[in-house]
Amino acid sequence: MATFWDIIHLLTGTPLIFVAIMGLVWGILGGALPGISASITMALVLPFTYTMDPAMAIALLACVYIGAEYGGSIPAILIRTPGTNSCAATVIDGYELNRQGRAGEALGISLMSGVVGSLFGLAMLVLLTEPLSWLALAFTPPSYFGLGILGLSVIASMTGGSLVRGLAAAVIGLMIATVGTDPISGVTRFTFDVPDLLNGVEPVLVMVGLFALTELMSQSGSTDLTQLKESVRIRLPSLSMMNKLKRSQTIGCVLGLFEGLTPGGGGSIAAFMSYNEARRWSKTPEKFGKGSEEGVAAPETANNTVASTALIPLLSFGIPSSNSTAVLLGGLLMHGLLPGPRLFEQNPQVIDSLYVGSFVAIIAQIGVGILLLPAAVWLVNRPRPYRAGFIFALILSGIYTLNNSGFDLGIALALGVVGYFMRLCKFPFLPMILGVVLGHMVESSYRRSLVLSDGDMMVFLQDPICVGLLLAAAGFVIYSLTREVLDARKAKLKEAHG
């Protein structure tokens, strides 16, 4: 844990404050653009972080995530179009308040609830992640194998209704991870004598290709939605209003914590669950759906809480539970930072920067949110054809910065095509991303374990941490499969009964 002086040094001796605010600004603007999710906003900035100091890069990505969660609520409230998926629940009462001429109030509630949720989430992140890092010293190659398998088990809950498609996507991701130099023997695999492939396919290319390019392709030819009102101004809630929102914000915090910790949970589920629970516990449930302040506060608190708590399984075990945390994982890997326990052991400055940077971003969000609203409205109101051209140019320029390589551009474009067809055929992206980012760890730790044990498979059962992680993975897969089967049965019954 960082001391007081470490924090002072981070704030004064590094560009952390600048980085945090830039990340926040980028996140709010990106999140405000309909169709550009938090993960896409993060993926767009990922190539820029390549040349940055790793600690600053990771802090930047975390702050983009925080900003995007708030940014997404702007079009949700103003044009009934959530900027990010997790703001879908905010649309219900946020847009109703807008129709009643209370858009500024709704934006203010969203902003302050986001700050409350983010602060709670950050506190949980700091309190829960640190103790988990104590396991670091006990980790052996078999433990890392177990960790990788636990990470891959998240796929079971990310299959979007079809386990076969989800598994196929994961296998394709693992196949991409095998391209390059073999981690144990050093021979080349699937490089086809192309020198650019010797180091494999960088996860960032897969993420930008799948998330950003696929989204642009899918939006091609679509028409502009309603324009935002230029004159809208944020009105921060009064103390009495904040007092009134206490219950719904508490619900948002609790469910945001729970969903952030659950692999496959995510901000959308947390937001909808919080909305429902807030309505159930509200003194005025009849106002929900007709412009309830609590109906904005609960989902916004929840999805902002998740933006921090989803980092707990990522930082402590290397398990990304959502697209956004998968992008953050890509950022860690890009800087040679092994996600999981070793991160705390070997790179505490990365963790400290992430915590302090997030705190700065959350506090700055109040001022930046108010100041940036006109810019966000202006950006959303730009004609879509120009926006598409600028975003496409930004993506391609960003990819080139990675290795100054035209080959990388070709790979990203090809992955854009793959992603587009995967989307058409309803293949989920996250399993593929997980395969790419975890493939190397799973294979190398598995083979290293066998080398150390002279090929004895019992090595995995002799390591208690590995056994625990494998059991957790098995339990998680069984739970997810059971839920999928039960859901399918329920849907069939519903269909049969009309």
Partner: protein, 162 residues
Amino acid sequence: MNRDGWSGLVLLALAGGYYWATGAIPNSTLEDEVGAIGLPRALAIALAVLGLILAVRGFLAARATAAAGNTGTAIEDEERDARIPRALGFLAFGAAYVLLLPYVGYFISVALLIASVALYEGAPKRWTVPVAALGGALLYWAVFVKLLGVNQPVGTLFQGLF
């Protein structure tokens, strides 16, 4: 054949091609129990199995639909399919950018990309298109080349000029 059927066949073809490519992985004196070829071969087999399941599922579903007398595809599917050429056309501008970049350099490539994408996406053919394209190129050139110091290509056509 429905979506599952086609995806299953594509996965089978991918698995076959990948398995065939594993034959080119060389042996090493540092070879371990599993070897460099172990995981790729296992993955190819796994993908083939998954592809087969999808293909069979798709085939059975298509047969059931045909038996029920419903041979038409949903309107949603037709609309979706009609958008494929448009989406691929969008990406073709990216491919053209990659091809042009080494010859005409970063500034012109970006300007051309912004202008062509904007027109393709329906921007009215007015003076605003070249102005936005040149403005965007200038902005990105300032950010990437001047601010971030990225060595973006000058372009072989203009090498002598800069």
